[in-house]
């Protein structure tokens, strides 16, 4: 090997020229290349994956059940709130004839303050809900399903409307108003009276016309028959309550005539 040969060898021995990708494709297609190993998950990985899936599904199921339970309890709570209560004791008013363990106690209480007991509607005893009531229940149910926090706010506001304990006989418990489907504006007026005007004399500051206007706005979409029924209930309630107040406070009956006149108008 002479100098020329060395010159050529030095330059060409380690020379590289990249072939095209088709070369490997041909080699791979020839069968000389081993098949890729099938993807087999090791046992511990299988267990880990199964555990992760179990925990994930379990967590989702747990929260779903919890949510369902919460919705159910909200509906029940809503229905409880709608139940008329004795304004003094806070005990739900029980229909006559419906026997419970509190019968005797309720009877005693009713004897003590018979005038304070509200009889929202004796005709509603165990009767099927009207179409409006069904719609209202459905509306509340939908609302509770979609906006649980709002329902919670409502409940809290109802609690805030609880009558002050110092002059319970002068209070109009909001729970008692609920069956009449008063709107929030009316409820707030009653609350204002209960909360700040404890002498009772300005209970009459609730403008009957305002009440009427609010009631009309509230009941406008309703069937006239239903509206009349609810208005009747309201005036019965309002009359009873104001008369009871008048008796307790020794106010002249004439001062209450505005509301009575209102009742006469309808």
């Amino acid at each position: 090997m002479n100098n020329f040969d060395k010159y050529i060898k030095d330059r060409l021995e380690q020379a590289q020229m990249q072939p095209g990708e088709n070369v490997w494709d041909k080699i791979a297609a020839s069968g000389a290349i081993g098949a890729p190993k099938p993807f087999i998950l090791p046992l511990y990985r299988k267990i880990a994956v199964a555990a992760a899936l179990f925990i994930g599904i379990g967590t989702v199921a747990f929260f779903w059940l919890k949510e369902e339970q919460q919705i159910g309890s909200n509906i029940i709570a809503d229905e409880i709130i709608e139940t008329p209560l004795n304004n003094n004791t806070g005990i739900p008013l029980i229909d006559e004839g419906a026997g419970t363990g509190n019968d005797n106690n309720a009877h005693e209480k009713s004897e003590e303050s018979e005038k304070d007991i509200i009889h929202p509607d004796k005709t509603t005893k165990k009767k099927a809900p009207t179409e409006f009531e069904s719609q209202e229940i459905n509306r509340k149910r939908k609302k509770s399903m979609g906006t649980t926090p709002l329902l919670h706010e409502r409940q809290m506001s109802y609690l805030a409307y609880q009558p002050v304990q110092t002059l319970p006989e002068l209070k109009i418990p909001l729970q008692s108003v609920q069956p009449f489907y008063f709107n929030e504006a009316i409820a707030s007026q009653i609350y204002r009276v209960n909360q700040f005007e404890l002498d009772g004399s300005s209970l009459l500051s609730i403008d009957p016309e305002d009440l009427l206007r609010l009631a009309e706005a509230e009941y406008a979409p309703m069937e006239s028959k239903e509206t009349d029924t609810i208005k009747d209930k309201f005036f019965q309630f309002a009359g009873d309550r104001l008369n009871a107040f008048a008796d307790a406070a020794g106010l002249p009956w004439r001062k209450l005539s505005k509301v009575n006149e209102l009742e006469i108008l309808y």
């Binding site: 095209g20 041909k26 290349i33």
Partner: protein
């Protein structure tokens, strides 16, 4: 990928062992590591790139299928290179390319021992070698670059030793002449530019 695969396998022996077990990833890594060098080998024997790639793929198929015969004696690169050279020779034989072997020395066949002045690129050199007649080119490659002896070349090409020597001498002279021509052309070009 080459660096990555080499780093992963850490040594050639492990890679070869995995290739023996027909691990496709290892086979791909081995191919990636040697494909460039072996393509250059093939291009020195086979003038066209398409044919060279065909020979290269056949050579690698043989490498992978006969890897069990490799017993870690000697360089693995040398083992692959031998397979590639044999594959090139088979290809040339199959197309009956190297038929013109002359074993008679003529007066103008004088040996020259001068290395070129210019530092030519390997692609230029391969191009010049590819322009040699098939017989010259084959013997020149086998003797000068692969390091075979004339006796081995004679056996492999089924020619006499003297024929191998004659082919080498003529190939060397022709290549030197062409390198000189190329150098002159480059010098002229540079003179024109300056």
């Amino acid at each position: 990928l080459k660096i990555f695969t080499l780093h992963r396998t850490s040594n050639e022996e492990t890679l070869i062992q995995r290739c023996k077990k027909r691990d496709p990833k290892a086979q791909r890594a081995l191919y990636e590591h040697y494909a460039g060098k072996m393509m250059a080998v093939c291009r020195r024997y086979i003038p066209t790139a398409e044919e060279a790639e065909e020979v290269l793929s056949n050579g690698f198929i043989k490498v992978f299928t006969s890897l069990d015969k490799y017993e870690f004696k000697g360089s693995f690169e040398g083992w692959i290179r031998k397979i590639m050279v044999r594959e090139c020779l088979m290809h040339l034989r199959s197309r009956k390319a190297y038929v013109e072997y002359t074993d008679s020395m003529e007066n103008h066949d004088r040996e020259s021992d001068t290395a070129p002045d210019n530092d030519l690129d390997h692609s230029d050199l391969i191009s010049l070698i590819n322009d040699l007649p098939d017989g010259y080119r084959t013997v020149f490659n086998m003797y000068v670059i692969e390091g075979y002896k004339h006796q081995e070349i004679a056996v492999m090409l089924n020619i006499t030793e003297s024929t191998s020597k004659t082919q080498l001498l003529r190939a060397r002279n022709l290549l030197q002449q062409r390198i000189k021509d190329m150098e002159n052309a480059i010098n002229e070009l540079s003179n024109i530019k300056s």
